[in-house]
Subunit: 218 residues, 2 copies
DNA sequence: ATAAATTTTTAGTCTTATCTAAACTTTAAG
DNA sequence: CTTAAAGTTTAGATAAGACTAAAAATTTAT
C-alpha cells in the first residue's frame, strides 16, 4: 500500500529524473515538493525500505522498477482526469491541475480503465503530455518547440512546456489551444521573437512564448 | 478546513441522527466508523471545538448547522459520483460504494457543479437516495417499502433500504434494478412473502427482500 | 590540499488520528 | 436506593509526516 504522500514523492522523483537519468538530489525533491530537505530525507528512507527507490546516503535517489510503475500509474490517472475535466466537464487548461492533483490518488483499477474507455483512449492530456497505457508504457510524441520551426512552415499546437497558470492564461487570452494551426511568417534574429498566423490571425510572439509551446509539423 | 477524517465522522453522525433526531451516542459513532469509543470521543471534541457539532460530555452529539451543511456536502458529492459511475462508466449497483467513498472527499466546488450539470441534475443516486442540491436541500421522496404495497397494485422500484453488497448482488441476479416495474400478485400472510411480476417475470420474494426494496406507486 | 560553502542527514519536537488501559458517569436491576 | 453493568472519557503510547537546529558529508574555491 502506497500512501498519498508517498505517491506525491514518487511522482516528483519521476519528473525530476525524467531527462537526465542520473540520480535525483534530496534538495531538488524538497524544493519541488515545497518542503524541507529533512522531510525529503525521511520520506526517501521510507520509500527505500519499501523498495520503491534505490538510495545511497548523500548520493540521491533513483526510482526502482516498482517505484517507476507506481509513479507512472499516478501520472496516468492525473492525465486521464485532466482529459475528463476539459473534454466532458467545462474546465479550461489552467483550471484542471489542482483538481487532477486530488483525483490522481483515487484507488480503483476498474475506475481508471472505465474512465479511459469513456474518454475513448486518449493518448495526450490537454497540455499535450502523453498518457501512459495500463501497462505503464508511455507513447512517445515527436513534438518540437515552436521556436525551432523554420520560417514559412506550418504546424499544429500539441502542448506546452511551461504549464504554469500564467502561461495557460496567456494562451487562452489569445485563443491559442491544442490543435491551433500556426504558420511561422517571419523570425526576428535580434530578440528571437517571431510573427505567426494563428487561426488566421497574425500576431508577434516573444522568445519566451515560442520556447514554451510544443508543436507538430505537418 | 475540514479534514478527510472529520468529513467521515460528520457523515456518520448525519446518518445516525437522521431518523430519531435525538443526540447520537459515542458508541454508535465508534461502531459505524469501525473504531474505538475513545477515538470517537477525541474526534467529537475536535468537531465540537470547530463548531461543527453540539456536544455535552456523556450526552452524545448533534450536528450544528455548519456541521449539517458539511455532512450534506459530502453526501451530495458521494451520490453524484455514484450516478456518474453507474450512468457514464459501466459500474453496477454494488461496485460504486467503495469508489464513491474516495471521490466524495475531492474538494472543488466547480467540479461538483460541473459534474451535476454533466449528469443532467439527477435527483436520486443509483440506490434511490435523494441527492442534495447545492444549497443543501434534500429533495423529499415519497417512496415506500415494497412490503407495504397492496395486492394487485403496480409500482416502480426506486431504491433500496439495505445497500449491502449481498443484497445488491441478489437484485442484480434477478434483474431487479431502478425503474423495474413490479406488480404484486399475491401476499402470503404466514411468512409475509409475496409473489410479484417483475419485468413480466413472475417470482416469489421473501419478507426480507420486500422490506428492503423501496418503490413508488403509480 | 585544505578551508569554506553547500548539501544532506540526524536528533528531537509537533500534530493528527489512532489505540489500550484505567477512571469516571449514567443507567438499570434488584 | 444502592450497586452492578454499560457507556464514556481521560491518560499515556504509537505511527505518519512534517519542522527546526545541529552535526556530518560532500563539493567548491582558494
Amino acid at each position: 500500500m502506497v500512501t498519498l504522500s508517498e505517491e506525491n514523492y514518487l511522482k516528483t522523483i519521476f519528473h525530476l529524473g525524467r531527462h537526465d537519468k542520473a540520480s535525483v538530489s534530496t534538495n531538488a525533491i524538497a524544493q519541488k515538493m515545497e518542503t524541507k530537505a529533512s522531510s525529503a530525507t525521511d520520506m526517501i528512507k521510507k520509500l527505500s525500505e519499501k523498495g520503491l527507490v534505490d538510495y545511497q546516503k548523500y548520493k540521491g535517489v533513483q526510482l526502482s522498477e516498482n517505484g517507476r510503475l507506481a509513479a507512472i500509474s499516478v501520472i496516468r490517472k492525473h492525465r486521464l482526469w485532466e482529459v475528463f475535466l476539459v473534454n466532458k466537464l467545462s474546465f479550461s487548461w489552467d483550471e484542471v491541475h489542482e483538481v487532477a492533483e486530488q483525483l490522481e490518488h483515487i484507488k480503483s483499477e476498474k475506475l481508471t480503465l472505465e474512465l479511459e474507455s469513456f474518454l475513448d483512449y486518449p493518448t495526450q492530456d490537454p497540455h499535450g503530455d502523453p498518457i501512459p497505457d495500463s501497462n505503464g508504457s508511455i507513447p512517445s510524441t515527436q513534438k518540437l518547440l515552436l521556436a525551432k520551426v523554420k520560417q514559412g512552415h506550418q504546424c499544429i499546437c500539441v502542448g506546452v512546456k511551461d504549464s504554469s497558470s500564467e502561461f495557460l492564461k496567456y494562451l487562452d487570452k489569445y485563443k491559442i489551444a491544442l490543435g491551433s494551426q500556426i504558420k511561422v511568417i517571419s523570425k526576428e534574429a535580434y530578440d528571437e521573437s517571431m510573427t505567426v498566423k494563428i487561426n488566421d490571425i497574425q500576431k508577434t510572439i516573444s522568445k519566451e512564448v515560442a520556447q514554451n509551446l510544443f508543436v507538430k509539423t505537418n
